[in-house]
């Protein structure tokens, strides 16, 4: 079989290189597949680090008045945990998958700007290193080494020189500014690739949903990361040039930072979740053996979500004392965005309806995603009702809500993507037994932690506190939350072990282990460096379906 010949040939080539040469190749690569893998590996590293930070917090909080860590360390933990998970785990891993898959799925040989691609990745990596260098490099009144401790939103004026002496805040600011430019580079690259590099016949309405959704995500990156960059430049002007953007003594406004931050912050969460929607939209159809239900509406709903997401930001600021009219406006836009989001859940259900559902590991994670994203969306609606939010915001309820979205929704979809595309990327299948263990352990741990976490929230426990008072009824719930965290930790270790073990010894995958329909499954696993021997021409949304079912091609029905 020619793919086996290819694989052996590649193997023969690699043994001729020293490890230093291999390292050099990877460090200087501009190949979208390798950069994709680098992004994913970076994200996995930071996932483990961020998880350790979370574990430290949970140990501290498992009983009241605990002294596992000092308040200063705890405050650095929640700041670093949030910053790491959002900017150095989820964003890079999504960029990684987009980088890897988009050119393959649209029949291209690489991204539009390969060198910009590499530059963007290394900027992100540099940002991550800078952020963590703060542990040793930050200095100031507290002595050697301190990481930022201002929360991942870095609200002014807590970040001013007066309240944050030393350089911890500067590490936060500059690390995110640098990686932000990397993200903008990737956004530009994705748009230029998707618009300018599609293979013949692949009109926009024939693109896989993953390409569409990454196009929308890239557009959001351009207009929402930039407000954060602007605000961070303003913060640096304040801290280093004596500026007064957020200086209350000079008439500056703390609320202005909040507005700028959340104008970034809300679309940011859609940047995180839209690629997760993309994974679900590719995987659920394959394991239901049906095309996605309502392709045009899925595209339209995503575009609608992107637009509306630019108008909801102040629902993070319901408690800051805006007028009742402003609050009502943001209630309306927040409720409105639930409509296209809910529609997508129904479309996924509609895809599964009447299908022949295969409960392979990617599908198990997708089902978890559906169920949990539904709940997350509903707790989001609860908080969209502003007066209800006046109780829930700033408490463990909102912490539970957004972890439900990010862990229960996004991370589950991400696990599905790993199990689904690992064979394509590495040429080997992930182990099924370990996969099931991973799924079950993580499901149990996730629910134990994040279902329970809603309760201390409604019982009055605020967030970002290093300890709490006994006798407020919060103790037992915090203990349960911590136990669940450990279970999730074990599950992650199982997952990492699976990745390593299967990469070395997993069974060979072949081109198309899942009997799927998009172009990446038409090339070898792993694909050759040039992706396609000759650029394909497509006539429908599922080119491989047309090939496998020439008597009933999709092109007849679209």
């Amino acid at each position: 079989m020619s793919s086996d010949v290819m694989a052996t040939h590649t193997a023969q080539i690699s043994t001729d290189r020293t490890w230093l040469q291999t390292l050099h190749e990877w460090a200087t690569t501009v190949d979208h597949k390798r950069l994709g893998i680098l992004y994913i590996l970076l994200a996995l590293l930071f996932l483990v680090i961020g998880g350790i930070e979370a574990t430290i917090m949970r140990i501290q909080l498992m009983r009241p008045h605990n002294d596992f860590v000092s308040p200063q360390v705890f405050n650095r933990m929640f700041t670093m945990h949030g910053t790491t998970m959002i900017f150095f785990v989820i964003m890079p891993v999504m960029f990684g998958f987009a980088n890897y898959l988009v050119p393959l799925m649209i029949g291209a040989r690489d991204m539009s700007f390969p060198r910009l691609n590499a530059f963007s990745f290394w900027l992100t990596a540099l940002g991550g290193i800078l952020l963590y260098f703060s542990f040793v490099g930050g200095s100031g009144l507290y002595g050697a080494g301190n990481a930022p401790d201002v929360g991942w939103w870095a609200y002014a004026p807590l970040t001013s020189r007066a309240f944050s002496p030393g350089h911890s805040t500067d590490y936060w600011t500059i690390a995110l500014l640098v990686s932000g430019f990397g993200s903008i580079g990737t956004g530009i690259n994705l748009i230029a690739t998707i618009l300018s590099m599609r293979c013949p016949g692949m009109t926009l309405s024939r693109m896989p949903l993953l390409a569409w959704l990454n196009l929308v995500m890239a557009g959001l990156v351009l207009i929402s990361i930039t407000p954060l960059s602007a605000a961070q430049i303003m913060l640096l002007v304040d801290r280093y040039l004596g500026g007064h953007f957020f200086d209350s003594q000079a008439g500056g406004s703390a609320a202005l930072w909040m507005h700028f931050f959340w104008i970034f912050g809300h679309p940011e969460v859609y940047i995180l979740v839209i690629p997760a929607f993309a994974f679900a939209s590719e995987i659920i159809p394959v394991f239901s053996r049906k095309p996605i239900f309502g392709y045009p509406v899925m595209v339209g709903a995503t575009v609608a979500i992107a637009f509306v997401s630019l108008s909801v930001w102040a629902h993070h600021m319901f408690s800051i004392g805006m007028s009742s009219y402003s609050n009502s406006f943001f209630v309306l836009t927040t409720m409105v965005i639930a409509v296209p989001t809910g529609i997508k859940i129904f479309n996924w259900l509609g895809t599964m309806w009447g299908g022949k559902i295969q409960f392979k590991i990617p599908m198990l994670f997708c089902i978890g995603f559906l169920f949990q994203f539904l709940i997350a969306g509903l707790t989001g609606i609860m908080q969209g009702a502003a007066p209800f939010d006046w109780q829930l915001t700033g408490s463990y309820f909102v912490v539970a809500h957004f972890h439900y979205v990010i862990v229960g929704g996004i991370l589950f979809a991400l696990f599905a993507a790993f199990y689904y595309w690992f064979p394509k990327i590495t040429g080997r299948m992930l182990n099924e037994t370990l996969g099931k263990l991973h799924f079950w352990l993580f499901l149990i741990g996730f629910h134990m932690t994040f279902d329970t976490m809603h309760i201390p929230g409604v019982l009055g426990m605020p967030r970002r506190i290093y300890t709490y008072e006994p006798g407020r009824g919060w103790d037992i719930w915090n203990l349960i939350v911590t136990i669940g965290a450990f279970i999730q930790g074990v599950a992650i270790l199982v997952f990492v072990a699976n990745l390593i073990f299967s990469y070395l010894r997993g069974p060979k995958a072949g081109n198309d282990p899942w009997d799927a329909w998009t172009l990446e499954w038409s090339v070898s696993s792993p694909p050759p460096a040039y992706n396609f021997a000759s650029i394909p021409t497509v006539a429908s949304r599922r080119p491989l379906w047309d090939q496998k079912h020439p008597e009933d091609p999709d092109s007849r029905y679209e």
Binding site: P71, Q72, N75, V150, P157, F163, G251, S253, A254, S288, R289, K290, P291, F293, Y295, V297, S319, I320, G321, V339, G342, N347, L349, G350, M352, W353, G355, K356, I357, Q358, F359, I367, F371, L374, L378, T379, G384, A385, P387, F388, Q391, T393, L443, H447, H454, V458, L459, G460, P462, R463, R464, I465, T467, Y468, E469, G471, G473, H549, D552, Y557
Partner: protein, 356 residues
Amino acid sequence: MAEKHKTEWPVLVGRATGVFVLLGGILLAASLCNATAPSENAVPSIFEPHSTPAELIRHLSYFVLVITGLIFLVVFILLTYVIVKFRNKTLADGREPAQVYGSTQIELAWTIIPILIVVVLFLATARVIHAIQDARKPATAVEVTAIGHQFWWEFRYPALGIVTANELHVPVSDPAHPTPTFLKLLSADTDHSFWVPQLAGKTDLIPNRVNETWVDPQQTGIYFGQCAQYCGTQHAKMLLRVSVDSPEEFAAWVQAQKQPAKQDEKEIAGRHVFETTACINCHAVGGTNATGRFGPDLTHLMSRSTIASGAAENTPENLRLWIQNPDAIKPGSLMPAMKLSDNDLDALARYLEALR
């Protein structure tokens, strides 16, 4: 045989998650049912309101919970049904199912119904927003100015000429003749948030901005809360204690607070220590030349049950510890360790303990 076992898994998935949801629901319900009376119950649950804003919020929250609960049930049932009904029974069957691409009618239906739900939710919410935020302040209202500091609360009653800290006293409000308390919220440094869940939703204290909130507690007792917007190292210990007093108790408290500091002649040594060390830079004692505003007003320190904004009980031992080594109680607070000799410390502590 092996295939039969495999097809059991998805059912188990559905059931297991359903069990968890049920468990979660039971736990939640259990936490909401608190049978003890409010004054003994230190659990600041948002579902145990004793003041109109918190009650309005609870009504709205029940409405929202019912609607979202129904949505959840419908979708959950559909999802479980789909998983069970359409799981692939015969792997050997090479035929693909019917390839359905969409359905305009169905998609229209599940667009229009959510839009209607959104309209209903929005209208219900807007009403409560106006009811709470645009409530008019009656002439009988008690006015308090709350100033957030790192990491304590300053409370001033401008009309009554009172300044105190950390423990707020308000009169109980009879619904027939309401005597609510309206609070102006200011900040001396970073962002804070005033949150006493049983009395009202939280409102932030933001520098350079005047916010307002109000409460009208209808049952006497002590209500707990704390700062709900991260403000720095000791955000966790910026606790709130609201004492809802009967009209007589409140009047008595106001009377006592209005007096200047009780000057006990026996404690002249302690007063000397207070007024010649750095204490007066930050603290005020009414009727003396201590007029510092950076730290809490100590005129009636002993009328409070806690010190350090609730971080410790107000006992002689804790008071001494706080003065000598505040980091032992609240590491990272802005109270400096005074490093007094034992004699000075004793004298000072006795002086402070006389400030009733």
